[in-house]
Symmetry: C2
Subunit: 216 residues, 2 copies
């Protein structure tokens, strides 16, 4: 059965590929798995039918026969475990690629989200200018550590994996702050991810949703 | 070979079980895998030898033969996949348990850490009292959603799993804010986790480190 994912009917990022369905679309494209998309409005996301699929009322969800999953990390890992192309065959290399997935989501994404949130929620507050340097400092610390580890390698640990897919997806959310540009090897790493045909197909698919549905 | 994990020589939480080695110790105890611990100072964590194991200079790390892992989520998942006791046998239930691990780390932990951080870093700032309600509001939103999903069940999805281990570990970090007490079913859920013999052995082990090493 073709799996179905959910995505924003009207994505707040206006089709820039930053919503979390993009990670799942990219993984589906990498492994060559066709999928259906069910668009949900912000109103529908708070209704019992959607909350039964996703306890936190977010997107994406993933439905395949009688399996329902939520959390982009879990869905990408599920796809990576069941299809070739996103995890190495060697057991140790596989475990390390999964480490990078968790690092992307639990260590690198939080300071990126913190930087986004101060811009969205606190820009007009009296403390914005005073608090911003600390927030950006925490982001630079993490990106500096990641940049040092990546060095001049193409990907984080050998061939492209689900760990890179998740890390590139997370780093893309720091682009608008301008801070990613301070780390040329990370910018190039993100560009390598964006250049992958599977990324481009996934990006085009989510942009098409915005162009047809999102012009509200 | 007995695996080796790293932990703080002097844990900032003074042995209260909130450092991330606790999650790995708990998982090791649940599956009955003996382990060694190498204590590292804050100074050592920034040195090349430790950064080779953990690119972000944190604890825990996990070494087993020639495998090196970092990120508590990845280590717990590695243990859960290789030993019985932390993931159900049914493939769908297994994928759902892994969803809860990611939910704990990527959806529930960030607002808990944000609440901790405002207390640690911004308590003396002029904006503390004004910003705190928004931070606590974000935490209450997530805990409310989790509380509704848990309902009166013992665990998040059937039997105790690595998803519960991670969720309880994350929720424990919100205890000191007092906000966890507003959700009696979540408090009881955390207490059920703490009551497990494996949790208690892990807790005692990390407390013993503080009592012998940490009284600096």
């Amino acid at each position: 059965m073709t799996p179905t994912i959910t995505a924003f009917a009207t994505s707040p990022d206006r089709g820039k590929g930053l919503a979390r369905d993009m990670r799942v679309r990219w993984a589906l494209e990498e492994v060559g798995q066709p999928y259906d998309v069910r668009l949900v409005s912000f109103e529908e996301m708070k209704q019992p039918a959607h909350l039964a699929l996703h306890p936190f009322g977010q997107i994406p969800t993933y439905e395949e026969d009688d399996l329902v999953l939520f959390e982009s990390g879990a869905i990408v890992l599920h796809l990576a475990e069941r299809h070739a192309g996103l995890l190495p065959d060697d057991a140790n290399a596989r475990a390390r690629a999964i480490s990078w997935m968790f690092a992307a989501l639990n260590t690198v994404e939080p300071p990126i989200v913190e930087r986004s949130m101060i811009g969205l929620l606190e820009r007009d507050e009296t403390w914005y200018a005073q608090r911003l340097p600390a927030v950006e400092g925490r982001l630079r610390k993490r990106l500096g550590e990641l940049s040092r580890r990546l060095g001049d390698a193409d990907w984080l640990d050998g061939a492209f994996s689900a760990g890179d897919l998740m890390m590139v997806s997370v780093l893309l959310r720091s682009k608008s702050s301008g801070i990613l540009d301070e780390y040329p090897n990370l910018s190039a790493y993100v560009a390598r991810g964006e250049a992958r045909p599977a990324y481009q197909r996934a990006f085009a698919a989510q942009l098409a949703v915005f162009e047809t549905q999102g012009r509200a």
